[in-house]
Amino acid sequence: MSSRDESKYLLPQNPRYQAAVSSLIVSAVFWAVVGLLLAVQFYHLKVTDERRSRKLEALRHVYQTSGADESLAEEIRQLDVHYRRDHLARLQFLYRGSGLFVLFGAVFVGTILWVRSFHQKPPHPEPLEDRTTAQIQAARRTRWAVSAGTAVLASAVLFWSFQGSQTPQESAGAEDSSESRPAFASWEQMNQNWPVFRGPQGAGICPFDNIPTEWDGASGKNIRWKVPVELPGHNSPVVWENRIFLTGADAKRQEVYCFNAEDGTLLWTGQVPLAPAAQREEMTIMEDTGYAASTAAVNGVFVAAIFADGQVGCFDFDGRRQWVRSLGVPASAYGYASSLTVYENRLIIQFDQDYEPGRSKLIALDITTGQTLWERERPVPNSWTSPTVVEWGGQMQILTSGSPWLIAYDATDGRELWRLDCLGGDVAPTQIAAAGRIFAVHPYTHLAAVRPPQAPAEQMQAELLWKAEGSIPDICSPVSDGRLVWTVDSEGVLECFDVQDGSRLYSQDLQAVFQASPVLVGDILYLLSTKGRMILVKAARTFEQIGQNELPESFTASPAFAPGRIYLRGSRHLYCIENRR
């Protein structure tokens, strides 16, 4: 023992020790190299060979479907042999290599043991402490630890039992499902759903019946279900038949959620990757906009979403991601907030930016592929309004608000149809179309009624009919039933104007703060305050409040509707409200 102890001081000179250490290093290097080679070959097996077989498959398909081409056939044959040889060689390598890996691992372990045999330390018990106290303490500590462990385990299990039913839907099956189906639903179907921000044509008019007028968050009355939404976002739900879509994001993740409308289960979560970190540093994120202010759009087959960093992602209804586009982080003073809209297979993005002229654009992407179909430069600075697609005299038009222009584009090819100088400031409320007019908002200043050119034959000149002043909103969009038009500003002042001449019929302080835009259901206005109070006002020339309902959460997203149901996205939950029979 003692001689070994002394020899420890001479270890570096001991040739046996040196031999042990060098074999340790050599075996470690060998081991690592084999491991690395295995990993590389494994990668090739999984990625390269997979890609190659897909390529070969594609070539075979081309050969079978196009005119006969002997050179292509020859190429296929050669590639086939080449790829197959590589693949088999890789399999062999992996099999033998993993044997080598284990073998070198064993050698490595052996050399460690060898080296270690030079570093022995005789046992050296420390002074004996008070055993009685130590053992009593140890027993007590174990009791507490086991209790704590049991408690942690039990609460984890309990927590899971609440989560258990919400398993995300797997997206198995063939990868290509979109090709044989049409890429969009019809205009009629779009109007039978709630496909974009503020519903069909972005008008904020609910076409459905049996919408509840009474509910209560505290007692759960008429709350069909309530489910948590993982990541925050100011965007509103969009609805297609029995699916509800919304998005959420924080500094690390950007996600699209699809919920089952029947019971609120999360069907899938789609991920949209972040823009490069360097770009994201330039983002403006304010509390009022956040990372996910833009409402998603759905066209009956796909759902697309855009986030504050200019990343656009598209998914099919089973949650398979179709494509992702990076438009670049938009330069927006308060953060990007325009919602998407969609016309047939065209995904319309109002991408207004500040600082340099020529940066603001209206972009149409092919929703099936993510390719740009067309792009129009816009002579406006950053805005926070959303484009809307409306039908006007048989023509589909995209309406946009910016400062100072209200511009209409042809929804098919993006041709500019007309423009009118009637706006200004930091425009956020979205224009609406009603009674053959367009109502657009110059925040804090005026509500403008515009008569668009009636037919393409006309001189394509829009006409400003009137401007009405009052408590003009800065965030919430107007709503109209064709006879009257209402606005509500953030401070809670509800204004009612006559569509004909813009005369103000009433102005009523609702004593609440609003960020969500109002929706007209039949002859009732639904106004959702940030505190979760939904105020119901009769759509009439005089003010008459006919009810109010409370939910215990804050709300900034505009409500979405489906037959018999309201979907409300709060700061933490998604609610479904339905009359209980």
Partner: protein, 188 residues
């Protein structure tokens, strides 16, 4: 009050011995019970060819890097077709053996002319990866003479078959090792 230590010790010893005897008896009973339930019968995994839908997972999910599942050919069921739909991709340009006409991703099927109008198709197992593409082709149009089987010279007979776990039609079943194949035709 307290019994003397020696007595305590012996009581403890008695308890302990008793416990040991009881547990040994229990273990004995368990042995007897298990032995009476168990038989000199081993199980192996096999694919029920009438349940297999040819999804391709046999090629990707076996624990072996080269799957233990291979395609086998029941020659007695084969129509010896010239246009074999298990061999050729749909609508082949020519009925020739070039890789461009073949369905098999590894070219594991050999086609041999026998006599007008018959061709023989045999599986080269060293190439076959068990994807079942030919199985689908043959079953969809032809007689279904090609089907997948677990080859027991390769199968490690894992306690839980990794392919069986992901088989969409639960076609992988335990069969007695004495009759380890589920063939579509009885072997002579």
């Amino acid at each position: 009050m307290n019994p003397p230590p020696s007595e305590l010790l012996s009581r403890r010893r008695f308890l302990k011995d008793g416990l040991w005897t009881v547990s040994l008896a229990a273990a004995g009973a368990a042995v007897a019970a298990l032995a009476s339930r168990s038989r000199a019968k081993e199980w192996v995994w096999q694919i029920d060819p009438y349940k297999c839908i040819g999804c391709g997972r046999c090629a990707t999910h076996c624990v072996l890097s080269e799957s233990a599942v291979k395609c086998v050919h029941a020659f007695e069921m084969c129509g010896y077709c010239d246009l074999c739909t298990g061999y050729f991709s749909p609508d082949p340009k020519a009925l020739q053996t070039g890789a461009e006409h073949q369905l098999c991703p590894t070219g594991a099927i050999r086609r041999r002319f026998i006599e007008e109008p018959y061709f023989e198709f045999t599986i080269d197992e060293s190439r076959c990866i068990g994807c079942g593409k030919c199985v689908v082709g043959c079953a969809a149009f032809g007689n279904g003479s090609l089907f997948l089987q677990i080859r027991h010279d390769r199968c490690l007979n894992c306690n839980e078959c990794a392919i069986g776990r992901v088989c969409p039609s639960e076609a992988i079943v335990r069969v007695p090792a004495s009759s380890p194949y589920l063939l579509k035709v009885r072997n002579p």
